[in-house]
Subunit: 236 residues, 4 copies
Amino acid sequence: MLEELKKKVYEANILLPKYGLVTFTWGNVSEFDPETRLFVIKPSGVDYDVMKPEDMVVMDLDGNKVEGDLNPSSDTPTHVEIYKAWADKGVKGIVHTHSSYATSWAQAGRGIPCYGTTHADYFYGEIPCVRCLTKEEIEDAYEENTGHLIVGEFERMGKDPIAVPAVLCRNHGVFSWGKDGNEAVHNSVVTEEVAKMAYRCETINPRVQPAPQELQDKHYYRKHGANAYYGQAKKS
Amino acid sequence: MLEELKKKVYEANILLPKYGLVTFTWGNVSEFDPETRLFVIKPSGVDYDVMKPEDMVVMDLDGNKVEGDLNPSSDTPTHVEIYKAWADKGVKGIVHTHSSYATSWAQAGRGIPCYGTTHADYFYGEIPCVRCLTKEEIEDAYEENTGHLIVGEFERMGKDPIAVPAVLCRNHGVFSWGKDGNEAVHNSVVTEEVAKMAYRCETINPRVQPAPQELQDKHYYRKHGANAYYGQAKKS
Amino acid sequence: MLEELKKKVYEANILLPKYGLVTFTWGNVSEFDPETRLFVIKPSGVDYDVMKPEDMVVMDLDGNKVEGDLNPSSDTPTHVEIYKAWADKGVKGIVHTHSSYATSWAQAGRGIPCYGTTHADYFYGEIPCVRCLTKEEIEDAYEENTGHLIVGEFERMGKDPIAVPAVLCRNHGVFSWGKDGNEAVHNSVVTEEVAKMAYRCETINPRVQPAPQELQDKHYYRKHGANAYYGQAKKS
Amino acid sequence: MLEELKKKVYEANILLPKYGLVTFTWGNVSEFDPETRLFVIKPSGVDYDVMKPEDMVVMDLDGNKVEGDLNPSSDTPTHVEIYKAWADKGVKGIVHTHSSYATSWAQAGRGIPCYGTTHADYFYGEIPCVRCLTKEEIEDAYEENTGHLIVGEFERMGKDPIAVPAVLCRNHGVFSWGKDGNEAVHNSVVTEEVAKMAYRCETINPRVQPAPQELQDKHYYRKHGANAYYGQAKKS
């Protein structure tokens, strides 16, 4: 079942080492199928260079394995919670990585400020860093509660997940998302790149401030929404 | 039309990912043809690995598309303004990138000081960082006003664009130029390299000063002008 | 003799340049054979690209060469001491490198704090940095005393080498280990990666604290011990 | 003439881009032939990927071109002075680069302290940074005076060029040397690597001190001199 999607998810997973976002097996991509309301995800702990499309695991939104010989990624319950909350808003692909610069920000417990147009082209404002889970949340259901926390914090901060398609989890790593697995990987690459630039930028000028709001708006809306004019595709 | 130039501009664009200056489609190269007073530029948002020479777009200096199926780079109006002001001074190729270290300086709002001969071999003095556009300039005609700002600031600072073939745009990225697209790419590579060294240099010695003027002069004039003696070509 | 193991040790050595952990010949891998109580190690100063499996050297735990035309790695006496103390605890592969970030921490004389789950997935707590040898220890038997120091310091600190499979040697470099040469290389890669992230993390937030203990526990025990649930293998 | 040596020098030059030590044409290697007292050097400003062995230029120690169609490297007079002073001490290969980290130290005006054994394995003590030339020295004979300065400063500091086979030139770049062009390249790679580690090391611990002298001695003499025991070659 979902053979087409398995192939797509496999290929999106393979992009993670290609873009230098993962070491060993430290990452996973999933994609949601709106018709069946199932999603396909990487198996846990399988090396990228031996993994095959048929190793992908099919899951439902109750966290049950629907098809697959292997265990799904141990982060699967986080994907479940994000899809449950946001799939109907358009979040149909999710990526988790420990990409090097972004994870350094996560370890430092800080969100990535929007210092320039590279960031504003993809993210409307800061990429937030959510708090650590409490001892109780960790012991109760760590991965599921990570999903609850992300969704809850976006709500609390009034952030639209479509406009801010990534989050840092304190002391942990990065989740990013998009309209499919491929776009989620794309947003992961951008997160790493802006994490790198923001890191250097603060070293060059320790008193740097975020980019002016009007510049952030200009770049974000040049690429998104009804009046976008970047690229070739017609937006409507 | 301009088939030869389209091929040349295509190849110069392909150098951007080769030299690690761009992520995804974040960059563009154009080249000006003095005979027809047209220029050829990369199409907007097209991936480097599927782009073909015939995808290049031909533009005139009024910003009209003269030939091409695709939309030109969204930064085209910036290229137009630079050619209008400087093509007759010898600026016949322009590159825009968000290359990682140089953009970190742009985000920090600082020009790149001339700390050594690597810089002085290519740039006479600091690579300046021009201010952000105002809200009005952004809303009115963002890309065109970026071109006006660059040209105006070089005039105000008394900088010769031939002797300082790159600029940082605050909170944004880098524009570089040269006698053709290829030389503009070359200057983009150098900008990134000196941005990298200047960043580290200030960490190693926070009180570092620019290189002595006589050393800057020596290296710049060893490679440029009537008395140049670097390389194989005769200068006259 | 031990032809199979020589091939394995050769291949583990070849992984060091593949993962970017060594420059020139600055690294070595060995693996211990519990049956014969011999170990196989890289020859000293031989380039990775001309080295062959049959160049590997067979040593006993008294530091005698049992087989091989070439001199063993000059760090062999350190390997001997570690196997003598820890082989029966499960340490059957050892790696030494001067990998760039981890060695920077060693030169700075600091252990690598556990700032996040990437670290906690592999190491239970800080990767310690042991002191320099004294003048007497250096002059007496430098490499052997390095082994004594590592083993002695782990005992003094109450650290289990299985739970903390790497150490920094002050002003020197890294030793890591595992259940075979391959796992030791794996732990070397992780050490370098967490060294890199911890370095950046402290720059981003100079007052950063280690990750909460409950998060460290969660990630460590998600991958290790009777209740591990990461990956595909059954643990018992 | 010297066909064998031209090939060797060509190949040593080709190692510079291979090891990531040069951008474009920013580097050169020469090697001295003790029999004829001539040396072979890279031509000026020729791209590494079009350069051929027969392009190498043969020079004498008075700075005259003895053979070759192309201009020699513009740094040739520096090579001349170094060979004149040190060829009889064993310096028979010279490399000049602007390698990125080492040049950052040169721009910062600081020598590279010996923070660990990676450094001590190759360099006995700090890699010094010599002062800028004066206006008069620059205008009189820049490249020749660079050579005089290096030789004079080593004498003044009581440093043996064989034991410290590299130098930083303030605001400029790196010269390294060895018993042939290949060893000089090797020392250039090490200089870049220790520059990188020292840079990070000072960030991790701003109060770091050089490695203890007895550890520096141990590592230096483990690889050099009559009692060396690293590697396979017999020393006598």
